[in-house]
Structures are given as structure tokens and as C-alpha cells.
Amino acid sequence: MADKIIDLVNLTKSFDGEKALDGVNLYVRRREFITLLGPSGCGKTTLLRLIAGFEKPDDGDILFEGQRINDLPPYKRRVNTVFQKYSLFPHMNVYDNVAFGLTLKKKDKKLIDQKVREMLELVNLSGFEKREVESLSGGQQQRIAIARALINEPEVLLLDEPLAALDLKLRKEMQLELKKMQQQLGITFVFVTHDQEEALTMSDTIVVMNKGQIVQIGTPVDIYNEPINAYVADFIGESNILPGVMLEDYKCRFAGQEFICVDRGFSRNEEVEIVLRPEDLDITPNDRGMLHGVVESILFMGVHYEIRVRLHEDLEFTIHSTDYVAEGTPVGIDIEPDAIHVMKASDMPLATEEELEGAADYEA
């Protein structure tokens, strides 16, 4: 198992009396692509900035390769950051920006020339040396920012929502490129984002955060399939979440019906929360099916239809299906046992709309 390169022990940090991080414990392994995921204000950027050295923790330790670096200033740490706003130096051209770290170390000019060329090639911007920073598009600026950081061969690269300002197509391209880069270079990436799709696509490990605490850590598959509570389930992918009761191992009850499921280990008749992914629910003709309802709306999403089915006054399912069903049609719903995810009931409130939207421009 790869060793720990960064170890965060019991980190706490407050701003103006408000806790941004509350006793967070986390370690990062060498060569890992780890993503901190959460809505705005959850503390992920604060965590990143603590690793980079722009903030000092109120309490707790930051260990780099076993050494405590709490008091080490940013310019002495062997990590580099790609900033959300790129922060390219406007008074320097591309070459000077990318070469900055090496210029500071007073490296030989020939060496710098060579390294800059290599880096620009890596980010697919060969020949851009003399260009002015302001003449570049968003995507190009972002790649220069990456080149500028990587040229210093850091042990760890910190990325603070670097793709947030790019349009969809470019973002998806960059996601693949970054993943490829990381694997090629073998560097540890610590990535911060509020976009769960991005996290699922790129990461080896996802750390879901909320209100200054870590909620769940796991691989993308684990988190998607076994969310630990409704908050995570709601944040990652789409889901139908409803209250239920775990009658005994492998048997649960919700929506007024009993179902066979694949979870165990809960106490008898324990109150739980049930997660059903829209793509796991099947629509059947009305005379069949375990549950019944009426189609309330149907939207064409390209890959599938998004269908809302109302079961009764307070219960509505979102279902993804490739088949069309007309509005108002009474239908049946089938649920396979392994489509039912049972979670311990938690009182963690779901992420609000503001938190999800506010992610575009925040400082937390």
C-alpha cells in the first residue's frame, strides 16, 4: 500500500468566529488522485489552503512525509497550487509565467528554456512562449497555470476548482487530460470541486465534506453505490430518498410494502433511510409491478427520459428510462433487491440550493 505523503491530524480552523474546519482527519497517499467534494462553505478550499500554507490551522497538525509543516511558509513547501482564477502574472508573458518558479531558484537559462518547452508541450501549448497572458482564452490560461505549477516538479499538486470557469465541452476534455497527466507524471493530485460528476470521473478517492467535517471517504464506486447517509446520496448522482424500516437482515419496508434487499447488520425494526437510484427503477405495465403510481411528467434528456411518477400524496419517484410513457398513464414500478440501498438514518440536512449554487464564487 502506497505510503502517506500528507497527513492531516485533527485540523480546526475558524474565520471570524465561524468554524470552517472542525477536527478534520485525513491522509493522502502518494500518487493518489484525491478529490475533496462538497458544496460551497463545506471547508474543502480551506483544507486545500492549509496544505498549501496560505492559512495556519487554529489547532491540529499538517504532516508532509511525516514532518510537521504547520509553520513552514508556502514558498518552502514542496507543493504547488493551480488557482481557481489562474492568477497568472499579467505583467509577464507566457514564458516568464511558466518559468517563474525556476527563475527564482536561479536555474541556468538553457535548462529553463528546455523545461518551459517541455511543459508547454505537456499542456499542448507549444510555441506560446511569447504570447501575452491576456490574449489567451480561459482554457489556455488554465493550462498555462498548470504548466507553471508542474514545472517545479512538486510532490503534490493542489487544484482549487480549476475547471469551474470553463464551458462544458472544454471542461470534460480537461478532465480527461488532467487525469492522464496525473497518471503519466505519477504526482499526487489533491483536487477540489463542487461538481460531483467531475469527482466521479477523475478521482481515485473522493472525500465528501459538509460544514467543516468529512462525511464519507471512499472510491467513486463505493460512494455512489453505498452512500453513508442521505446527504451524500443526494449530493452524488440523483436519487430518490425516503424513510423506511429495516425489519430484519435482508428485509425492509418502505412505501407501504415489504422488499427483499441485500443489506444487513441493522437492528430489528430500525428506522433507516432508503436510497433508490432513478436508473435502477423499472417501469412496468400497471397490472404488474411492486408499487403503483401515475406519470406526472416526462422530459426528454437525450440519453434517457426523466419520468416523475407520483405514488401518492407525499411520495414521488424520479425514474430514468429509455422508453416513453405518456403523462397521466398509471404505471407499475419494479425494484430489484440490489437496487435498494439502506443507510442509517441521519439528521444531516441535505445541501441547500444556495450552497450548491454559491459554489461558483466563494472563498470558504
Partner: protein, 275 residues
């Protein structure tokens, strides 16, 4: 109705009160009083204006203004730097203190210096304690430069401060992240980005300093005339308006040309320094 019509009152005003007067100066500069009471076209005054005597005074004015500007820069740049450094969260409040004197009538500020430097004044008394009698602090070059620096220092501090304050903090963090310690952050990020402010400051100090006349008259007395004093002298003492106009013309051309050159070095989205 085209909205550009709104500018008409201004255009008329400008024509009457700015363009025509400039034309009149040129007219006076190129003419002289004729023996019969009329006017005759002549370039004599222009030639006289380039006489070493007057060029010398112009040179001295430029030199004194240059020294004053340098002193203001030396004193003022660190002030702006300190006010925008991270230790100073109240920088935006403190800058007001440095700028407040600009609001006091500049004649009063100059008078304040006379007050202090005069032989009966506080500084003289203080020096008297050390046995220095009758220090000649007034009516010399030192006093003039001091007066220029004292009056114009806030004009140097403010633009430099404004430029520094605008520097995106993210750039400083990026530099630190890439390995720059405080000195390198200053040398490679803060300093280059502050230069437009420095140019602004230099312009706002040097130009008025060269053309000043009250400061030099009050603090320098009649022995240390600067170019502005000479011009005023021509009008009210020598009563040679034609020559006065000529000297004014020379000064105006010199100043306008330098201004336009300076503007090229300034950070010019601001189109006028005010927002």
C-alpha cells in the same frame, strides 16, 4: 434627437474660454508693442526667450522640481508599500490621514512652513538649544525644495497606493506558492505592478512643481526665482506682456509635450485618473 447634442454648451464654452485664450497667447507671443501704440509682428521675443538667462532659470526650475520629485518618491513609495502590506488591515483608513493635507489650502500649507522655518519660529528655537544661532532656513533653495516636497508628497503617495491596492492578492499567493519569499514577491510582483502608479505620481508632482510660482516666491524670496516667478514678474512688474506671453508659450509647449509622453507610460484604462 442625437444625444451628442448635449455636449454643445460645453463645446461652445471650451471654444471661448480655452481655445481662444490659447490663440491670444500665441498672438501676444508673436507680437510686440510698436512705437506708434499698435502692434507689430515679430519673433524677437521668441528669440529672447531662448536666451541663456531664461533657459537657465527654466533649467533650474526643472532641476529643483526633479529633486523634489525624487524626494517625494523616496519618502512616499515606502509609505504606500507599508500601507498595503499584510500587517496593515487599517490601511484604507490610514491613507486618509496621509491625504488629508491635500484638502487644506496649499497657501496655508506653504505658510505653515514659513511659520516653522522663520527665524523666530519653533525650529530656530530648537536649534538654538544646540547653540546654532540664526539658521538661515528660509529664502534659499533648501526651503523651496522643502516647500515643494511638503506640498506635493500626498500627490505622490495617493496614486502609488491606489495602484498597489489594486494588485490581486491571488497573484501574491501564486508567487509564494511558486517559491517566492517576501523579497521576491516584492521584486517580481509588487514592484512591477506598482509602476503605473509611480508614473502617475511622478506626473502629478513634477509638472506642478516645475510651473509653481507661489511656493518659490514665498519660500525663496525674490532671489530664487523659478520660471513661474519670472513669468509673473514680466506681467506685473516689468509690464512686458508680450514677453510674458512668450515665456508662457514656451512653458506650455514644454509641459504639454512632456505630459503626452508621460501618458504613454501610464496604465491607461483610467482615462483620467479619477475612477
Amino acid at each position: 434627437m442625437k444625444r451628442s447634442v448635449f455636449a454643445t454648451p460645453y463645446l461652445i464654452w471650451m471654444a471661448i474660454f480655452i481655445l481662444v485664450p490659447l490663440g491670444i497667447i500665441v498672438y501676444y507671443a508673436m507680437t510686440a508693442a510698436a512705437p506708434d501704440g499698435g502692434v507689430v509682428f515679430t519673433l524677437d521675443n521668441l528669440i529672447k526667450a531662448f536666451d541663456p538667462l531664461y533657459m537657465g532659470i527654466l533649467g533650474r526650475s526643472v532641476w529643483l522640481a526633479f529633486i523634489a520629485t525624487c524626494v517625494c518618491l523616496l519618502i512616499g513609495y515606502p509609505v504606500a508599500l507599508i500601507l498595503t502590506s499584510r500587517n496593515f488591515k487599517k490601511g484604507s483608513l490610514l491613507i486618509i490621514l496621509f491625504v488629508l493635507p491635500m484638502w487644506m489650502n496649499f497657501l496655508l500649507r506653504t505658510y505653515a512652513l514659513i511659520n516653522i522655518l522663520d527665524n523666530g519660529g519653533v525650529v530656530a528655537q530648537f536649534l538654538g538649544l544646540f547653540g546654532i544661532q540664526n539658521p538661515k532656513l528660509l529664502y534659499n533653495t533648501f526651503a523651496i525644495i522643502l516647500g515643494l516636497v511638503y506640498n506635493y508628497l500626498p500627490f505622490m503617495i495617493l496614486p502609488i497606493y491606489s495602484a498597489m491596492v489594486k494588485i490581486d492578492h491571488g497573484l501574491i499567493e501564486a508567487a509564494e506558492d511558486l517559491g517566492a519569499n517576501s523579497w521576491n514577491v516584492f521584486r517580481r510582483v509588487r514592484f512591477p505592478l506598482s509602476l503605473p502608479g509611480v508614473v502617475s505620481g511622478i506626473t502629478m508632482v513634477f509638472m506642478p512643481a516645475v510651473t509653481t510660482f507661489a511656493v518659490s516666491r514665498l519660500l525663496g524670496g525674490s532671489n530664487f526665482m523659478m520660471y513661474g516667478d519670472v513669468i509673473e514678474n514680466q506681467f506685473f512688474f516689468m509690464r512686458d506682456w508680450h514677453f510674458g506671453a512668450t515665456l508662457s508659450l514656451v512653458m506650455m509647449v514644454l509641459m504639454l509635450v512632456s505630459s503626452f509622453i508621460f501618458r504613454k507610460y501610464q496604465d491607461d484604462d483610467s482615462g483620467g485618473m479619477l475612477w
